[in-house]
């Protein structure tokens, strides 16, 4: 499973401050620590629309530069604002890049989809349209269908698309765990070349001991066909479950990845 390290996110207060103060050391350290912990991609999020777009563009350009100086890991640009994504693309020198994200809304597909197609980036596609997160599997698949049709016309291959099945809190609706898992299964059967990705922590909102729920859900999602997870790679237990899940779903021949991680002391009980 691909791990997208979520820690450089401005919704986290200490990160927002570090970005505002241009605290290079702190943010480089965060990038390097995630890379060392086994992140395959480093997510970069510069804000939730609090400052001006100009500020956020400047922050994104700066962040992309300093993170690349700190690690060779490819980046995932976490924004749905075309100007901010363009800012990251201007500064990015790596080969592979994830743009996170687009929805089935045509104007977003036109702007962000075109950017991804032009730069041959991978694109995270949320299984939703203009009406918010659909409650049913069928509606989420309909959104995926619209997205794939549109992106194909732009010349993108299914292999460049990471579908996010979306996760709603189980505390609010007991059926939502299965809705997400079935959506993953269906996406994998309809678009075998496409990947699936999701953030795990939404599932446990409103419940105690959230990490237990997140880990259980990670393992179930791996079985359903999840290819990539957005998580905190510095959480050694979560990373241990990633390794175990890969092994248990036949993606780790002779259990070598798991055992290698164990020898490094990275499998935590």
């Amino acid at each position: 499973m691909l791990v997208i390290g979520e820690n450089i996110n401005a919704s986290n207060k200490s990160v927002a401050e570090a970005i505002a103060n241009r605290d290079r050391e702190f943010l480089e350290g965060l990038a390097r620590a995630q890379a060392e912990a086994g992140a395959d991609f480093i997510d970069v999020n510069t804000g939730a629309g609090q400052g001006s777009v100009e500020d956020e563009i400047a922050s994104m350009e700066w962040l992309v530069e300093i993170i690349q100086a700190a690690t060779d890991k490819p980046l995932a640009i976490d924004s749905d604002v075309p100007h901010i994504i363009e800012a990251a693309l201007r500064k990015y020198r790596g080969e592979r890049l994830i743009i996170n994200s687009v929805t089935a809304e045509p104007e977003r597909l036109a702007s962000i989809g075109t950017l991804a197609a032009e730069h041959q980036a991978w694109l995270v596609a949320l299984a939703m349209g203009a009406e918010g997160i659909p409650k049913s599997v069928e509606q989420r698949l309909a959104a995926c269908e619209q997205i794939m049709t549109y992106l194909s016309r732009l010349g993108m291959e299914a292999g460049q698309v990471l579908f996010d099945p979306l996760v709603l809190p189980i505390s609010v609706d007991s059926s939502q765990g299965l809705v997400t898992l079935k959506t993953i299964e269906q996406i994998k059967s309809r678009y075998p070349a496409a990947r699936t990705v999701m953030g795990l922590s939404n599932i446990s909102y409103g419940l105690p001991n959230r990490k237990v729920i997140n880990r259980a859900f990670l393992v179930m999602a791996a079985h359903a066909g999840l290819d990539a997870a957005i998580l905190d790679p510095l959480d050694a237990k979560a990373m241990s479950f990633v390794k175990a899940a890969d092994m248990l779903t036949g993606k780790d021949p002779f259990c070598k990845g798991y055992i290698r991680a164990y020898r490094k002391g990275a499998i935590v009980d």
């Binding site: 918010g132 809190p169 505390s171 609010v172 409103g206 419940l207």
Partner: protein, 230 residues
Amino acid sequence: MIDDILELIRENVVQGRITQEDEGMEEGMEGQPGVTELTEKALALGINIHDIINKGLTAGMELVGQKFDAKEYFIPDMLASGQAVGAAMEILEPHLAKSGIKTKGKIVVATVKGDLHDIGKNIVSILLRGAGYKVIDIGNDIDTQTIVDAIRTEKPQFLGLSALLTSTMMTMANTIQALDKAGLRDKVKVIVGGAPVSEEFAKSIGADGYGADGFGAVRIVKSLASDEDK
């Protein structure tokens, strides 16, 4: 006997049990009557509807609120209790109309334009219904004019606005201004809530109140209600 039934209603609201098949928050409650069976029984015994609501259902919901505030209860606990009260209110509604008891105030709730988040708003709706208010949920991503129109036609005592994004928070301010322009601002108390919203923000945009969470919203509505709507 009457007090026993009301006590059982309270307990079962706290346990979040709608019918006798339901599990409780505690072990081994299956098979005992739930809130709907107890409410039917209370009606059959001729217990005053006002008492069923106030001493049974609402009192139970207040206990749930205390447990939630003390972090003993979690979101699913309060949703189960809220639904139990909602089911009981459905049973009582036809009798309420007949007995001429005035219901509590009416509240229109919406998530503002540009914001698709409905979880918080739905929780607030369930809890307000549980507290005995009539809630009209007009949905999420609702433009300002639609909200103003709803205030004009529904004539509620309260308007609850929700926003989960820093980018849509300001739309709540626009809504209050639009109510002002439409000459409706003094007709309705506006309460606001959502993750980025704070007490100070609520004040700065001229809202009447702020609810930090579902029970906070119920508290603020109660405190702002005129005596006849309490």
